[in-house]
């Protein structure tokens, strides 16, 4: 049992923290938001230069062979700096599908572009009525010759506006809520029949609603087994949940730090408001919530390696519950303790709150995961 980082992991942490300290203060972030697509190609390039975009890929695939802990370190740092760039969509999720199910040819076609920063990906999964159930898929993929024809609508596809390649879940067999008969497809964003409606999200990221109308792809578009892809989807989405937990820990750390600094300097009645016990206790509770979240983020990271899929997803669901509860408390109280200034777009704390809030509703909210743990027989 060991919670310390190895020497190499510490170096990784120092290098990404250093990069973001230099290039990602709150003012720079505002500029990046106004760039085409809503994030900075220059920062993305720096992440590529430092090898961070190739982190989880094996060395044979041109990556650096990083594991869950390495991704946790990066996601925490990205959270702390409130980074806009599509690391989750491209490296964690897109990369996850390629790592777990990509053929040699698929990896050769896609991994180098991810690693060098020239290509980004997006995961087109959510449907109008699917909510958080990954198996609830109405979009269809029908066999045509060797290839497939995809029809359907996907919503709130993060990085959907910019991505070069879309990873699409589609039903190859059975009814809307069957767990079998789901396939995963690599679809070029430029394919004929793909139409996008793009928009910014509440937390300053960008997403798109994407319609697929008779989109034709070849046999080489299929990731894994086209009739039995749910386990793959669950595996990758679990990794995304773990990454979101780590990002939320970074966001909470920074929210708490910013809030404590603020109440130390903000004066009312002639004293710093941080000298009032009611505010001190609230800040202490924020600390407790953030530490409990950190513990569960570590637990989820390590659970990512559990061999038993049920045990793995139970642990990750539990972590998402704790993170959801903690982030709501920390986020809301950070605004409360900032008072009026916390309500403004000018102050950075509100932007942290908004990203935290969106994380709760990504890939299953607190109630959804709590029910999963409860129905799965608990944790003890």
């Amino acid at each position: 049992m060991d919670f310390d980082l190895t020497e190499e992991q510490r170096l990784l942490k120092d290098s990404i923290d250093g990069l973001l300290t230099d290039s990602y203060d709150f003012e720079s972030r505002k500029k990046y938001m106004k760039e085409k697509g809503g994030w900075s190609k220059a920062v993305w390039g720096k992440l590529a230069e430092q090898g961070l975009l190739g982190l989880p890929f094996s060395e044979a695939d041109g990556g650096f062979g990083g594991g869950g802990v390495e991704t946790m370190i990066v996601m925490e740092a990205l959270g702390k700096a409130l980074v806009l760039e599509p690391y989750l969509a491209t490296v964690v999720i897109g990369g996850g599908f390629l790592r777990h199910a990509g053929s040699d040819a698929q990896k050769a076609a896609h991994v180098p572009g991810i690693v060098d920063g020239s290509k980004t990906l997006a995961f087109a999964q959510l449907e109008k009525n699917s909510r958080y159930d990954l198996f609830d898929v109405s979009t269809t993929a029908k066999k045509k010759g060797d290839g497939w024809i995809i029809d359907g609508e996907k919503f709130v596809v993060l990085n959907g506006e910019n991505a070069d390649t879309l990873i699409v879940t589609a039903r190859t067999k059975g009814d809307r809520r069957d767990t079998g008969g789901i396939g995963v497809f690599l679809v070029p964003a430029s394919a004929k029949g793909v139409t996008k409606k793009s928009y910014p999200t509440q937390d300053g990221l960008h997403a798109a609603d994407i319609t697929f109308t008779g989109v034709e792809v070849g046999a080489d578009a299929v990731l894994g087994n086209p009739e039995d892809g749910l386990a793959l989807i669950e595996r990758v989405v679990d990794e995304a949940r773990v990454a979101l937990c780590a990002e939320a820990v970074g966001l909470m750390d920074e929210s708490l730090k910013t809030t404590v600094e603020y109440i130390k300097t903000r004066k009312q009645f002639g004293v710093a408001i941080g000298s009032f016990q009611s505010l001190q206790h609230r800040a202490s509770d924020m600390f407790v919530a953030a530490e409990q979240a950190r513990s569960m983020s570590m637990f989820a990271t390590m659970a990512g390696d559990f061999e038993d899929a049920k045990e793995r997803s139970n642990a990750i669901a539990a972590a998402k519950v704790q993170i959801g509860k903690s982030l709501k408390f920390v986020g809301q109280q950070a605004i409360q303790l900032h008072g009026g200034i916390g309500m403004t777009m000018e102050a950075k704390i509100g932007h942290y709150f908004k990203r935290l809030t969106m994380i709760e509703n990504s890939f299953g909210d607190t109630d959804y995961h709590q029910r999963r743990v409860a129905d799965g027989g608990g944790l003890i």
């Binding site: 049992m1 060991d2 919670f3 310390d4 980082l5 190895t6 992991q9 802990v69 404590v260 109440i263 130390k264 941080g274 000298s275 016990q277 505010l279 001190q280 206790h281 800040a283 202490s284 509770d285 600390f287 407790v288 530490e291 409990q292 979240a293 950190r294 513990s295 569960m296 570590m298 637990f299 990271t301 390590m302 539990a318 519950v321 704790q322 709590q370 029910r371 743990v373 409860a374 129905d375 608990g378 944790l379 003890i380």
Partner: protein, 396 residues
């Protein structure tokens, strides 16, 4: 970073578990499972078994009879002990006064007290709190005046846990009234059988008697019963209270109780089916289990940190343990109340040690709920813990 225990640690867990299975008297275990109070004899019998095995004072330095375990081994031992469950060693002797004596006492005192603490020849109690000194402990008024080779002690202590069984007390007394409040306090130990010591039981809202008021009326104590230096008692008290950082979360206790809740909830019916099949209840139970898992991980982080970097600088996460640990213990007793529903009501007046063989298991659930309100009050109330986090961690 690696969550897994090593092979050696797993083997150690198995060794501990096997020992408990073979050696904890079954009646003692059953009473703990049912949340009943143990008699003095039952506790002492078990502690002597534990001490004979060499595990009674496991965290003491080896020259005084400790085991030399790593911090992870201590963690495993405590977890297994709490979740078996078996009675924990008497904290007042083994965890509190023992370390003060081997750290600050003289050779004579070590020889005289330590073996008797280990084998529970003396049952110790703690004379800290007073009616006017709760969270503000340093305002204490009990006075020890030097008269020749004796101390004359006058005053009153309260909340003295299990003082009704005690042979000895370690007591914070004011020895210099003119000094600033923390500076004039000394750490004195003496026999509870001394003339002028009166113990008056306090019945708590659960109906049991765990705590007492203790009155000192011209109690004569030999001067050499002073531990360490005169007027340095506050330092020793802080040392004593800072010693036990991780056990306070009582993760094993809550785990055991959650298993019991799950077990009872599959037997007790609500709406014509076991209450565990009720989605709302099941989610509450899951919520509590998740909180406990997070706390367990937080505790492991603190333990691993202590193992690597020593106990000198406390891990900031350690302040979480008391607050969350007590909240979760309270939640588990609430869930038990929910499971038994209307059968929480029957009341049974306990005797001195709270035991009553004929009592149905349900009769202990409400008292346990009432009794557990104490856990967020004692050992520095949770409000005091928040003050500590605000000051020591957040710098407010």
């Amino acid at each position: 970073m690696d969550l897994a225990f090593t092979k050696e640690e797993q083997a150690f867990r198995e060794e501990v578990r096997t020992f408990f299975r073979g050696n904890v008297p079954p009646d003692t275990r059953r009473k703990l499972v049912e949340g009943r109070h143990l008699s003095k004899d039952e506790m002492v019998t078990w502690w002597r078994i534990l001490n004979k095995k060499g595990w009674g004072t496991s965290h003491w330095p080896t020259q005084y009879g400790g085991t030399g375990w790593t911090s992870v081994q201590h963690y495993i031992f405590n977890e297994e002990l709490q979740s078996y469950p078996a009675p924990q060693p008497l904290a007042f002797g083994v965890s509190m006064v023992g370390p003060v004596i081997y750290t600050f006492g003289n050779e004579e005192q070590k020889k005289q007290y330590l073996p008797r603490i280990a084998d529970v020849d003396d049952w110790w109690c703690q004379g800290f709190s007073e009616p006017g000194s709760g969270s503000d402990l340093a305002s204490l008024k009990t006075k020890a005046e030097r008269k020749g080779d004796k101390w004359i002690i006058n005053g009153q202590k309260t909340w003295t846990t299990l003082a009704q069984h005690a042979d000895m007390i370690f007591c914070l007394c004011r020895t210099d009234a003119s000094a600033k409040k923390q500076m004039g306090i000394s750490f004195i130990v003496f026999s509870m059988k001394s003339k002028g010591v009166t113990v008056r039981p306090i019945q708590t809202i659960d109906g049991g008697v765990e705590v007492n008021e203790v009155f000192f009326d011209d109690v004569e104590v030999p001067y050499e019963n002073l531990i360490g230096e005169e007027n340095k008692g506050w330092d020793y008290a802080k040392f004593l209270l800072g010693n036990e950082r991780t056990g306070i979360a009582r993760v094993g206790v809550s785990k055991e109780r959650l298993r019991r809740i799950r077990d009872l909830a599959s037997k007790v019916e609500s709406g014509g089916k076991p209450i565990i099949q009720d989605a709302a209840f099941r989610e509450k139970l899951a919520a509590c289990e998740i909180e406990l898992k997070a706390l367990e991980l937080t505790q492991l982080r603190v333990v691993a940190d202590e193992g690597k970097h020593g106990k000198g600088k406390p891990n900031p996460a350690s302040s979480v343990l008391k607050i969350k640990g007590s909240e979760i213990q309270q939640t588990t007793t609430e869930l038990l109340m929910e499971v038994i529903g209307p059968f929480a009501a029957p009341y049974d007046v306990h005797g001195d040690d709270g035991s009553n063989e004929a009592m149905e298991w349900t009769a202990q659930i409400a008292p346990s709920y009432f009794n557990n309100r104490k856990v967020s009050i004692y050992g520095g109330s949770n409000e005091i813990q928040r003050n500590i986090i605000a000051k020591a961690v957040l710098g407010l």
